[in-house]
């Protein structure tokens, strides 16, 4: 099945998350405005949008923390929030930053959350807690009080909580917030490993490059609306590509590109860029050579996710209030 504008590839596999016209109004403001989210099984779904675009409210509705004003939610085949007691145990969540008891150690905090789970097995708890701490690299700090943790360690503890029992879906809201580049890379690797084990991951972020690097699917939120969702590669492909020619005869190169039908031709110092449009890439270099333009370098630039975002919203990324 090929993508339509509204849905990612179904491929026959049922979606882990599916919402219909999901809406949340707070007093005067519409935080989430009729979105049809669809997270396919096995996907790493990047939920993108500037701060304040409705990502967290959507995630809170998916997890049954906030009741929708209207619309429907299917989570792992059960309606939410009605099915919360059955489905949420299969969902590991990190919601809007880590939050734990400051005077308890990391291990004691996890032990407490595990005790709150009516179906968890007390006998296996110590082993499961240690495994989760180990997985996020927190074992050396397991007995330290939470208040002594750095922001990065807190973030890891919240991820460890999401890994206490095997999950079918992980919902990670801004998981790399406050992490250094090393920590960010580790989270990315962890998400990759979990996805490889078959866990579906819904990861929200306002960092476009991060989503670009770890996601298979992406949904773009802006001012409460889901502007676009689909496979990441298809989203990239749908955006017009840019070519760049390095040459010392900039003006001649530019006129050749214009003749070929490329648009937005921009001569620069020692290079020309232009939007490829419908022109076949392989025709460009021979034309340049025929026109005796020395080609010192030629590249087709993959549009960044930011370019995609700007093309969708007509605005930069960090403007939504």
């Amino acid at each position: 099945m090929s993508t339509s504008t509204s849905g990612p590839d179904g491929g026959g596999s049922p979606a882990v998350v599916r919402t219909r016209a999901l809406t949340k109004r707070f007093r005067t403001q519409t935080a989430v405005d009729g979105i049809d989210l669809e997270v396919p099984t096995g996907a790493v779904y990047g939920f993108l949008g500037p701060n304040g675009s409705g990502k967290t409210t959507t995630i809170r509705m998916l997890l049954g923390l906030v009741a929708p004003s209207s619309g429907e939610i299917d989570l792992l085949g059960e309606p939410m929030p009605g099915g919360a007691s059955r489905t949420l145990r299969r969902v590991g969540a990190l919601v809007e930053g880590p939050a734990f008891h400051p005077y308890l150690s990391g291990r004691a905090n996890l032990s407490r959350l595990d005790a709150a789970d009516p179906h968890s097995d007390a006998r296996t708890a110590p082993a499961r807690i240690d495994a989760a701490l180990d997985r996020v690299g927190l074992m050396p700090a397991a007995t330290k009080r939470f208040r002594a943790y750095s922001l990065g360690m807190r973030q890891r503890l919240a991820i460890a909580n999401a890994l206490l029992v095997p999950r079918d879906l992980l919902v990670l809201d801004e998981p790399t917030n406050g992490l250094d580049p090393q920590g960010t890379r580790e989270v990315r690797n962890l998400v990759g490993e979990l996805a490889a084990e078959g866990t579906t991951v819904l990861v929200s972020s306002h960092l476009l490059s991060e989503v670009d690097q770890m996601c298979s699917h992406v949904g773009v939120m802006f001012e409460g609306r889901l502007l676009r969702q689909g496979r990441l590669d298809e989203l990239h492909a749908s955006t017009v590509q840019t070519v760049r020619v390095d040459t010392d005869r900039v003006e001649d190169a530019a006129s050749v590109l214009r003749t070929l039908g490329l648009t937005d031709v921009r001569p620069g110092a020692g290079h020309v860029t232009a939007l490829l449009g419908e022109v076949a890439v392989e025709k460009i270099v021979p034309e340049l050579v025929d026109a005796y333009v020395p080609v010192l370098g030629f590249s087709v630039l993959r549009p960044s996710l930011e370019d995609v975002f700007v093309s969708l919203t007509g605005e930069g990324f960090d403007v939504s209030g």
């Binding site: 809170r60 923390l65 906030v66 919601v95 005077y103 709150a116």
Partner: protein
């Protein structure tokens, strides 16, 4: 407790599987233990317990130092006169002295913090996505707070007994009705007083739980709960509105003095327990209605 729990679960299983599941959800042993660890591990609560236990000791010392028969002042159903004759009465006098403020303060501190404290830390959203279940969370926290109130009251009584017997000695107890009974019987009546007052405080805890579901600021919830308690005491002291008094929770608290009569006066105690039950049911229902539909945005 755990044996009874096991019995209920077994009985439930014999009936129907989903019955057993529901029973287990209603009796969350491990979760409750974990909650009790949190409540009794909190420094604020430990300090409060320390203060509660120190008051009977101070009371006993003050009476011992001033010695001589006292002048008949002091709150409660007249325990202070009896103290010098039997140390056991230090416990009753301490309960009476801590009844208007200190014991309610401890109950308010634990109950007001119950939901609002977790909301304030942000841990509420993690508990609910576990999912701990909203009703289950509310009831578990309520039981933990009631246990805290029971422990606080028992601690006051215990500290009173230890300090009183050490400074004034024990022996037979002369009850308020004039009859004499054994020390063991007196201790038994003290235990009944602790249970009765704990039941009264369980009703106050229900008010605290309800207030706690209204805010994300635990201190605000604690202050409001104490405010309600003080307001009831003030209303109870205004004779012009005597018609209102029987409906006030606190009006029945000092009835525990009836446990020191022979035979035990059960009228006021019974009304007190009924009033406490009514308050507990009403405010727990309100708390549940509020909490089960609340948007958790903290």
């Amino acid at each position: 407790m755990s044996a009874a729990e096991a019995d209920v679960v077994v009985a439930g299983r014999q009936q129907r599987p989903e019955q057993a599941h529901r029973t287990r959800t209603a009796l969350p042993g491990r979760f409750l233990r974990s909650e009790l660890t949190i409540v009794f591990g909190r420094r604020r609560n430990l300090v409060l317990l320390g203060v509660l236990a120190a008051i009977p000791v101070l009371l006993a010392i003050a009476l011992k130092v001033s010695s001589g028969p006292d002048d008949g002042r002091g709150g409660g159903p007249g325990f202070f006169e009896a103290i010098t004759s039997n140390g056991l009465f230090v416990a009753f006098a301490a309960l009476a002295a801590e009844l208007p403020l200190f014991l309610p303060l401890a109950v308010a501190a634990a109950s007001g913090d119950a939901i609002a404290g977790e909301a304030n830390l942000g841990t509420l959203r993690y508990l609910l996505t576990i999912p701990a279940g909203r009703t289950r969370l509310l009831l578990t926290k309520y039981v933990a707070v009631v246990v805290f109130g029971l422990v606080a009251t028992a601690l006051v009584a215990l500290a009173g007994v230890v300090a009183g017997l050490a400074l004034f000695g024990g022996g037979d107890v002369i009850l308020l009705s004039g009859t004499t009974t054994s020390l063991v019987d007196g201790v038994g009546r003290l235990a009944l007083s602790v249970l009765y007052l704990s039941a009264c405080f369980a009703a106050l805890a229900a008010i605290g739980m309800f207030v706690s579901t209204l805010t994300e600021q635990p201190i605000a919830a604690i202050v409001a709960t104490i405010g309600v308690n003080v307001l009831m005491f003030i209303l109870d002291a205004i004779p012009q509105i005597a018609w209102l008094h029987p409906w006030l929770l606190v009006d029945w608290w000092s009835a525990f003095g009836d446990l020191l009569r022979d035979p035990i006066g059960t009228d006021a105690i019974g009304r007190g327990l009924l009033t406490a039950l009514a308050y507990a049911v009403v405010f727990l229902t309100l708390a549940w209605a509020r909490f089960s539909n609340k948007d958790i945005t903290s």
